[in-house]
Amino acid sequence: MENFNKYTEARTVTYKPAGTGKLYTDPDAEKAREYFRDTKPRKMVEKATTVEKAVKEMIHDEDYIGIGGFGANRTPVAVLHEILRQGKKNLGLAGHTATHDFQILVAGNCVNRCDAAYIVGLEARGLSKGARKAVESGAVELCEHTNASLTWRYKAAAMGLSFLPVRCMLGTDTEKYSNSVEMECPFTGAKYLAVPALYPDVGIIHVHRADVYGNCQIDGIMIADQDLARAAKRLIITTERFVPNEYIRRDPAKTVIPYYLVDAVIEVPFGGYPGNMAYEYFSDEEHLKAWLKAEKDPDEFKAFLQRHIYGVKNFNEYLDTIGGMSRLQELRIQENLIEK
């Protein structure tokens, strides 16, 4: 039998700062433990609230936020709009395939720093002029990252650690403008990149169903939300619908976010609109196109934001501006691939 104890012999391990990017959040796991010990709810109590109240009480200027979903898929849009209406400023953002979410937040000048894996674009739909301007002008400071590195930074935090070693970014300018450190594996001597744990001040996630205590179930891909939910110091959940606790208990294997991670939960039907919500509704490509088009003219964009965000009281009123239930039903039909 091969003896692998050579790997545990004493050796000197080197660490080398690899990136010039700033650290926007504290990776210290001890501090995180204390925070979680002192503030996370152990008791299963009702946390149902309103979007307005949750944003007012739980998101402060200069907070660093992490947004669930994937750009324009299962994105907590209602909360993002409310952040604009309440004029939150100088937020930090984990730009983990941030597409429509980034576009909304920079439209309100809410963000001043970002760990950027994917920003300013809306995938196949094209680039956002507003988002590009915010970055090219220097209004939003960037630390480069990748989708995997940000995912693993959440994971490190979710594990209660201060970093994880990974094998991406090495040798590139992405690494050079990140906030990572090159290290040697203490066992094999392999070169790895240490990425700092990311504990956002606030996580915001939209789910398919939750009970009033915050036990949440998601259908379809999880993206990075199982880790974001665990990494976030405060967690705001919006849900397509409330279900009784008994419903959650019927299929506990589906509960990806248990109540003790959650600080507020709000029922927001169609809360991922204009993004795609798996098995519920497809993305509203016309409305996303209208966003991209409106951004090209400052006056038109101002009127556009007034019509859809600043001039309405809440998310339900926003849905009225885009065609209400008739339009939403079309998107439900599209999602479920029902032939006309």
Binding site: G69, F70, G71, A72, N73, G95, T97, T99, A117, Y118, I119, V120, G121, E123, A124, R125, L127, R132, V135, E136, G138, E141, L142, E144, H145, T146, N147, A148, T151, W152, K155, V166, R167, C168, M169, L170, G171, T172, D173, T174, E182, A190, K191, L193, D219, G220, I221, M222, I223, A224, D225, Q226, D227, N276, A278, Y279, F282, S283, E285, L337
Partner: protein, 256 residues
């Protein structure tokens, strides 16, 4: 049969995806190439998307690598760490990337144009999952138009690693050994990478394309394969499948 550049590139790319291999794709031409491969020659090709979709029965082109098409009747609706960690474990054979600039070692820029990271002339989305896939999958391919601005001696920002600055550089940087760029499929030719120098080497020129045209559209010196051939044009069967089954609304092939 007549075909356009996009159709040609998709058909050529699809032929590299052999049966029973795993590919991570994005939206657009790479997704079309993978779908075509599945329908023509590689029915058991496993398609994955970086947001978590695994083995979908794609009903149509996804518009996002995280939309519900990417796991429609799939084998698994997983997560981004699941897919990225599968790449890191060495289970993913192929991936496709795109970018604004590429150099002779296959390094790709999808981050910015300019020389000041704080004030770029033009900002692009950045890595997304591109750096991860280029670092962690075995073989990286590109489907891209070829011109001297895009194929340039020095790219403004290395977003995703090719062979960095030459032989041995990936390993030295700590990237998994034996991984790296494999093929670059352009509107003019198919390019591989020289084993010794890790530089781009033209393997086949497309029908009707002169060698000089390729040279004129490249901002650095290309190597040429000793057994340089003419690219095999799309067969009528490939074109029929691509036009009628893979992309009937011409979302991708209509772009050429």
């Amino acid at each position: 049969m007549e075909y356009n550049d996009m159709e040609l590139m998709i058909c050529l790319a699809s032929r590299y995806l052999e049966d029973n291999s795993i590919v991570v794709v994005g939206t657009g031409a790479p997704c079309a190439a993978a779908m075509l491969a599945q329908k023509m020659s590689s029915p058991r090709l496993m398609i994955m998307f970086e947001a978590g979709g695994i083995g979908p029965m794609l009903p149509s082109m996804p518009i996002s690598v995280g939309d519900s098409r990417t796991f429609y009747r799939g084998l698994a609706a997983s997560s981004m760490p699941e897919v990225m960690e599968t790449c890191q474990r060495g289970l993913v054979d192929y991936t496709f990337l795109g970018g604004a600039q590429i150099d002779q070692y296959g390094n790709i820029n999808s981050t910015m144009i300019g020389d000041d990271h704080k004030n770029p002339k033009v900002r692009f989305p950045g890595s997304g999952g591109a750096n991860d896939l280029a670092s962690l999958c075995w073989k990286t391919m590109m489907i891209t138009p070829q011109d001297p601005q895009r194929f340039t001696e020095k790219i403004d920002f290395i977003t995703s690693p090719g062979y960095l600055n030459g032989p041995g550089a990936r390993e030295k940087a700590g990237l998994p050994k034996d991984s790296g760029p494999y093929k670059v499929i352009t509107n003019l030719c198919v390019i591989g990478f020289d084993e010794e120098t890790k530089r781009m080497k033209v393997e086949s020129t497309h029908p009707g394309i002169e060698k000089q045209t390729i040279i004129d559209n490249t901002g650095f010196e290309l190597l040429w394969a000793d057994d340089l051939t003419i690219s095999e044009p799309p067969s009528p069967e490939e074109l029929k499948c691509l036009r009628e089954e893979v992309d009937p609304y011409k979302y991708i092939i209509g772009r050429a």
